[in-house]
Amino acid sequence: MSIWSYANPVKFLALSAKLQPYLWAAAAFCICTGLIWGFFGTPDDFRQGSTVKIIYLHVPSALMAINAWFMMLLTSLIWLVRRHHVSALAAKAAAPVGLVMTLIALITGAIWGQPMWGTWWAWDPRLTSFLILFLFYLGYIALWEAVEDPDTAADLTSVLCLVGSVFAVMSRYAVQFWNQGLHQGTSVPMATGGRTVSDVFFVPLMISMVGFGLLFVALVLYRTGTEIRLRRAQALRSRQEREL
């Protein structure tokens, strides 16, 4: 049986109903463990003090914000090529989740920035590209809302997602160029990447990251189911009216 058979709404609903309890439980477990361990069970950083605890929210949400966009890109492509409705609806369902993740990353980052850099916000390349990502999410959701015909909306938002991704990459380079060009150096501790955090922080961080990932999957499955039901209800209703 090919994986595409799950593009059928009924099969999809059945499978996702089976998976969801485990997903929700696992997500809740990981997030609680990660955050509680992180919040109560890790020492303060010698330089950053207790603010280092923010990392357990900041990094997972930032990661999921980007991954949500990748997932939308993928499902948009699938919709454009194979026209499976579930795929388009999954993209629709993921967007608000991505938006909230972006917002969490931005807010925790901003709160962290105040004690560390002495400012809520700096026009650092990574921060700036996140802001742009936030804008893309907003536009994408607004377009879904604005187009009345559901298939047309799926088409248009998919193309927006593709074109938007290209421009997001371009913006990323533009922003890097722009800020280096000004030699405006807020040195960002996160810019180095890789394992800059020591093991004490690393394990709970990993757990929290896995938790956010599971939460994302569970949310998207649930929300896709909702979208499918709404779509079906709408179709049935127009049906009935036309029968009369």
């Binding site: 916000w121 742009i132 804008l135 536009g139 607004a142 000004l182």
Partner: protein
């Protein structure tokens, strides 16, 4: 009257109704400013009150063309004119609905955007206060502009042109109040002027708008 207000609000909240778009536009313009003038936070902080006021004004301006033009296009305005309803009241209600769906969210969002532009800490309260006092005037004046251009296809840009000069006094006093607040000076004089402008326009503009609308639909 209430029916009209409720309908306008309901339409704004429905899909495609445009609620939140003004806000999003405000957000985007504000984020574009650093891209164009550069990221230096001292520079940004010094222009922040002005930029935020200008952004709010533009967001308001751009949502004006939905204010009456949609009703004109589908014939609602003709029908409202022949309905037993004073046009002055109808116009005021439309301005109120516009402020509730556009101006008010801008006022609430302004402090958040102040962070992006490194607005000095002392400026937030005054910024919000000046916007809260000034945006109603923007909606009322904007309604007048919308009434002026109502018969014109896609008159959006023309509308902006007509309204912008009328916005100048509001902008000057509003931005001045916010700027003085941010610099720690006393902003009460411009705030008073601003309040005066708002009260005056709320009292008088609806009559002008209604008159213009009657002429325009001829």
């Amino acid at each position: 009257m209430i029916a009209l207000l409720l309908r306008d609000l309901r339409l704004a909240f429905r899909a495609g109704g445009g609620f939140g778009l003004g806000l999003a536009f405000f957000l985007i313009v504000t984020t574009l400013v650093p891209f164009s003038v550069g990221p230096t936070s001292a520079l940004l902080g010094s222009i922040a009150p002005g930029v935020l006021w200008l952004g709010a004004l533009l967001a308001c301006l751009l949502s004006l063309d939905r204010l009456l033009a949609l009703d004109y296009e589908d014939g609602t305005l003709d029908l409202l004119l022949t309905a037993p309803l004073p046009l002055e009241a109808a116009v005021s209600v439309k301005a109120l609905a516009h402020w509730l769906t556009t101006g008010l969210p801008l006022v609430l969002a302004a402090p958040v955007l102040g962070v992006l532009l490194s607005l000095p800490a002392s400026g937030y309260g005054w910024l919000v206060l000046s916007l809260a006092l000034g945006t109603p005037a923007l909606s009322v004046i904007g309604t007048f502009g919308a009434a002026l251009t109502v018969g014109i296809k896609r008159g959006g840009l023309l509308l902006s042109l007509l309204v912008l000069p009328l916005y100048v006094p509001t902008l000057i006093f509003g931005a001045e109040a916010a700027r003085r607040g941010a610099m720690g000076l006393d902003p009460s004089t411009p705030l008073l002027m601003l309040a005066g402008i708002t009260l005056g326009t709320i009292a008088l503009m609806p009559f002008a708008s209604a008159a213009v609308l009657r002429m325009g639909l001829r």
